[in-house]
């Protein structure tokens, strides 16, 4: 038997490019964000023409002064009520989708979501403690605008730290499997604590659940300013490591033999994604599905490299949540449906549709 090394024969495909973000997907992502922004600002109890809304949004740019034909009151609705809400939806959706995608890469687990390491349970317990204590004290505590978000943030980070310490206590380093199991244990423990508290303070159940199911209804520029630094930090750290996540996909041993330090990369990414998740949770409560459905949809449609998944998850995750918020506040107007319920109702069937379509396209 002879084996020869050959040059590329005539007729074979030319050299192709490696995985990376194709311009058409970037354009689609930016377009989705813009559409979500305009829709989020236009639609509501007072319906505003999308064209005029777009002009008013342009007027926010320095040096731009165009006549939208809207009244002062309508402009105030845009800039003080709907715009911060839409922007917060973009930030929170982007953060949750990005954190979900990062966790899926770090743990090489397609079911990983931003709440995998106990962030949701920690935030849930902390908020329940604050609300039940506040109700017990005549509402003074919960009356403070920052108390509940701060409790959610601290609870979320605290739970992730507990998970990390528990995962490391097993000895053989902080392996992904040990961390996931620790996350399950910590979540179960904290959820049990929350259930007990709710059982003892049944008068707080509605208030706690209205937070647990997620909401953007009270969003103002204050919330945007609160989330924005974490959004930037998480986005920069995670996006800078997007190629490393591709290398990590071959396993720790091979990544090490390729010159990487998997533990260090994993630690950095977990810290960044957890901070982003905690910030999102503190601003909007627990909104499920975004962190799983958006990265998977991007993976199915645009490619499996994390160089594609992460930046597009950021864009499409933001657009998805901002649009979902439109549905949440218009579908049963004048009542609002909790946005977490809408993400679950829309996200699940949408994902099944994408899955079926992709399978059909791939034969």
């Amino acid at each position: 038997m002879t084996t020869t090394t050959r040059t590329r024969p005539a007729g074979t495909p030319p050299a192709s490019r490696p995985a990376g973000l194709r311009p058409r997907w970037v354009v689609a992502g930016v377009a989705a964000v813009l559409v979500a922004l305009v829709a989020g600002v236009s639609l509501g109890p007072v319906s505003l023409p999308p064209g005029s809304v777009a002009i008013e949004l342009l007027n926010l740019l320095p040096g731009v002064r165009l006549d939208s034909g809207l009244t002062e009151r309508e402009i105030a609705i845009i800039t003080e009520l709907r715009l911060p809400r839409a922007v917060l939806g973009l930030l929170v959706g982007g953060l949750l989708a990005l954190a979900g995608g990062a966790y899926q890469g770090v743990f090489r687990n397609p079911l990983a979501d931003p709440y995998l390491l106990g962030a949701a349970a920690g935030a849930g317990l902390a908020v329940t403690v604050v609300i039940t204590a506040g109700v017990g004290a005549g509402g003074a505590l919960t009356g403070l605008p920052v108390t509940v978000p701060l409790a959610a943030f601290v609870g979320s980070i605290g739970a992730v730290v507990m998970t990390y310490l528990l995962g490391a206590a097993g000895g053989r380093s902080r392996s992904p499997a040990a961390l996931i199991l620790a996350g399950v244990a910590v979540s179960a423990f904290l959820s049990a604590g929350q259930t007990y508290l709710l059982q003892r303070n049944s008068d707080s159940i509605q208030q706690v659940y209205s937070w647990l199911l997620g909401r953007l209804a009270t969003a103002g520029w204050h919330d945007v300013r609160l989330v924005l630094p974490y959004f930037l930090l998480t986005a920069v750290v995670v996006l800078m490591h997007r190629r490393e996540l591709d290398v990590l996909s071959v396993g720790d041993d091979e990544a090490t033999s390729l010159g990487l330090h998997p533990q260090r990369s994993r630690y950095l990414l977990i810290v960044a994604a957890s901070l982003g998740t905690a910030a999102a949770v503190s601003a909007s409560g627990l909104i499920g599905f975004v962190g799983i459905i958006v990265p998977h949809t991007v993976r199915l449609l645009a490619g499996s490299s994390y160089r594609v998944i992460l930046p597009l998850s950021l864009l499409f995750g933001g657009a998805f949540l901002a649009l979902t918020d439109v549905v949440a506040r218009t579908a049963a107007a004048p009542e609002e449906i909790p946005i977490g319920v809408v993400t679950a109702l829309l996200g699940g069937p949408f994902f099944v549709l994408v899955l079926r379509t992709t399978r059909r396209m791939l034969g």
Binding site: P13, S16, P18, R243, D246, G251, L258, G259
Partner: protein
């Protein structure tokens, strides 16, 4: 399979890790002086002890692999073959026990080490959805700045390796859709794209039929001859291991039980004693052939 030269015929490039004809990129191990080279053995292991979870796996292993040589480690299950390869590849702590091309392993930074030694694991993970080109490009990681991306030279290097391994038409294919033999060639291509001159192959043919085993091993041998690679492999198929190795090392219970040419190591006495197997050793055209016989 005729006329395969032994190590003495192999152009070794005096042991300096120049890479298998792949553009290594700026700051390569050879160029940066990351390893000593110049006549030093490719691998030198002295008194290597490894314990995993408190269990002793290797107890004082000594091993020398000359540059350009093909050494195959054999031994029964649990003898410590894969552990030895992992220690040489820097995947297990082995302070002071392993030297690569004259440089202590722990003195090499991870990226420098990855430019010197490439590993093909026994069952490499196949990332879902990853194309052949993207997988091979992972081999360029030691040359890509931290948090950076592949340069045009890296892409060209990956295509060059794909060409050499007759995989040019596969670059857009999804890795998971390839046959076992094709996949094994891609794993090898990823290792070669690292531009390292020391290849560690852990059971490289365990999942292949006999035809693909020959194909892959011939390919490795051809690349070794053409580019002065050093090969340290573990294998279970003793006959085929003896066909390709210049020297063999028999590991048993974490220690070197025998070392030498295939004729020295593949003897009925040694194999029946350490494998607890009944075998006949027949003299073949290119070395001893081991045939299990019913007790």
């Amino acid at each position: 399979m005729t006329g395969r030269p032994r190590a003495a015929d192999v152009p070794t490039g005096s042991g300096a890790p120049a890479g298998p004809g792949v553009p290594a990129g700026p700051g390569t191990a050879a160029g940066s002086g990351a390893v000593a080279g110049s006549g030093a053995p490719a691998v030198e292991v002295r008194d290597l002890h490894v314990r995993l979870d408190g269990v002793p796996i290797l107890g004082g292993v000594d091993l020398t692999v000359a540059a350009g040589e093909w050494v195959t480690v054999i031994g029964p299950n649990g003898a410590g073959k894969s552990t030895l390869l992992r220690a040489v590849g820097g995947l297990l702590p082995a302070p002071g026990a392993v030297t690569l091309f004259g440089t202590p392993l722990q003195a090499l930074r991870r990226r420098d080490r990855a430019r010197v030694v490439a590993t093909v694991a026994q069952s490499p993970v196949v990332p879902p959805g990853m194309s052949v080109l993207d997988y091979v490009l992972l081999g360029r990681t030691p040359y890509i700045p931290p948090l950076g991306r592949e340069s045009a030279a890296d892409v060209a290097a990956a295509h060059d390796v794909l060409d050499r391994l007759d995989l040019a038409g596969f670059h857009t294919r999804e890795l998971a859709t390839l046959s076992g033999g094709e996949r094994q060639r891609v794993f090898l291509a990823r290792a070669l794209a690292q531009g390292a001159t020391l290849l560690l192959l852990d059971e490289p043919t365990s999942a292949l039929d006999i035809g693909h085993q020959q194909e892959v091993l011939e390919l490795v041998d051809q690349l070794r001859r053409a580019h002065g690679l050093t090969v340290l492999a573990t294998m279970h198929d003793l006959s085929i291991a003896g066909e390709y190795a210049d020297r063999m090392v028999l590991l048993a219970d974490g220690q070197v039980a025998a070392t030498g040419t295939p004729r020295d190591v593949l003897t009925e006495d040694l194999l029946s004693h350490h494998y607890r197997a009944t075998v006949k050793v027949i003299e073949g055209d290119h070395g001893p052939l081991v045939v299990p016989v019913r007790r």
